[in-house]
Amino acid sequence: MAKARVKTPKSVKKGEVFEVKTLISHKMESGQRKDKKTGKKIPQMIINKFVCSYNGKEIFTSDWYSAISANPYLAFYVKADASGSLDMTWTDDSGAVFKKSAKITVT
């Protein structure tokens, strides 16, 4: 049920620094846990990459490793000079890609 949530101000002033909050539901299986019944290790399944682009231009990326909690929360700051669309993608170990966009109006 991976579902992403993004919170940004709807409109910002030109050049103003604003905060982008994101939260995505993901189990972030660490690869360290064992299945209690079989005793076998549960394979790692985490989001390993987050990319945010603005009007097609990459503005923020981060590589994720183990030891990040389930349902990871990420917040960062952005400065915008023109209106546009913030496009965020999360990619996990299975190659699944989750996307979420937010429109920003610059006044």
């Binding site: 049920m1 579902k3 949530r5 919170k7 909050k21 939260l23 539901s25 189990k27 972030m28 909690s69 389930a70 349902n71 929360y73």
Partner: protein, 269 residues
């Protein structure tokens, strides 16, 4: 002259220290709405970081479940062709106090019924749909969503009338020593609330934030799951989620937290 002035200043300083010391040192912290008389929500025992996670509805990961519950609210299921919304319309209005009164005496089974079971009763009888499994994502989502509508409302489960004998049973359970460690709920949550059990700060064990997002669980969980965890901690065999024993206990725990605001979905460690 200079000396006298210094002495006066020193005296004033000392007087000020006397005035401010008792306030800073011994007066209890003001927890506002999170405390009613001597009853303190688990919020007041949580770390600052955990509290701020709960305070911000966006940072609170439990809202993933609230969102899912909202979707399920209007989803038509079962042979009757109904959703929750068909009868209960706007949850914000109809469920405003629903989260505060459970567990409640049920005339049909002649025992207590909690919110989870009430939801499933609606599903099987009114919607003619399949009951959700206890602790399933669907039941957790719906319970969280419904109880979230009562956020801020005071806990107010009835313990008189038909519920009285079940309340007594719950009270007995609460005070009964159990498990290899031979400990009752009371031993930790009444006798030692505020003290450490190894690295954990013991709270009063209030249920007003459930279903709650536990960082340890990395997800939302029910109050009965918490009961099971507590029972296991004292090396006792846990009862089943939704069992009569836990429903009775839930009523007693609800009474212990009477008047505390519903915080669902709370965040705890």
């Amino acid at each position: 002259m200079h000396n006298a002035k210094a002495r006066v200043l020193a005296l004033i300083g000392f007087a000020l220290t006397l005035l401010t010391m008792p306030i800073g040192a011994s007066a209890a912290e003001d927890w506002g709405k999170y405390q009613v008389d001597d009853r303190r929500s688990g919020y007041t025992y949580a770390a600052q970081e955990t509290r701020s996670m709960q305070d911000d509805n966006f940072a609170n990961p439990a809202f993933i479940w609230v969102d899912q519950g909202e979707t399920l609210w209007s989803k038509v299921e079962g042979e009757a062709g109904k959703s929750c919304q068909s009868c209960h319309t706007d949850a914000a209005k109809t469920m405003k106090t629903a989260g505060t009164v459970y567990p409640k005496y049920d005339f049909k089974t002649k025992k207590l019924m909690n919110l989870e079971q009430r939801i499933n009763r609606c599903r099987t009888e009114n919607m003619k749909a399949k009951a959700w499994k206890y602790e399933s994502n669907e039941l957790l989502s719906m319970t969280t969503y419904v109880r979230f509508q009562s956020r801020g409302e005071p806990m107010n489960a009835a313990i008189d009338g038909n519920a009285a004998p079940f309340f007594e049973e719950g009270k007995k359970f609460y005070n009964q020593r159990r498990g290899q460690l031979d400990m009752s709920c009371k031993n930790c949550h009444e006798d030692n609330a505020g003290n450490m059990a190894r690295a954990n700060l013991l709270s009063q064990g209030q249920g007003n934030g459930f279903p709650t997002y536990r960082l340890k669980w990395q997800k939302v969980g029910s109050l009965h799951r918490r009961f099971r965890g507590c029972n296991k901690n004292v090396r006792a065999a846990p009862y089943k989620s939704g069992s009569d024993e836990y429903n009775n206990l839930e009523l007693y725990v609800a009474w212990r937290g009477r008047g505390l605001p519903i915080e669902t979905p709370a965040v705890r460690n």
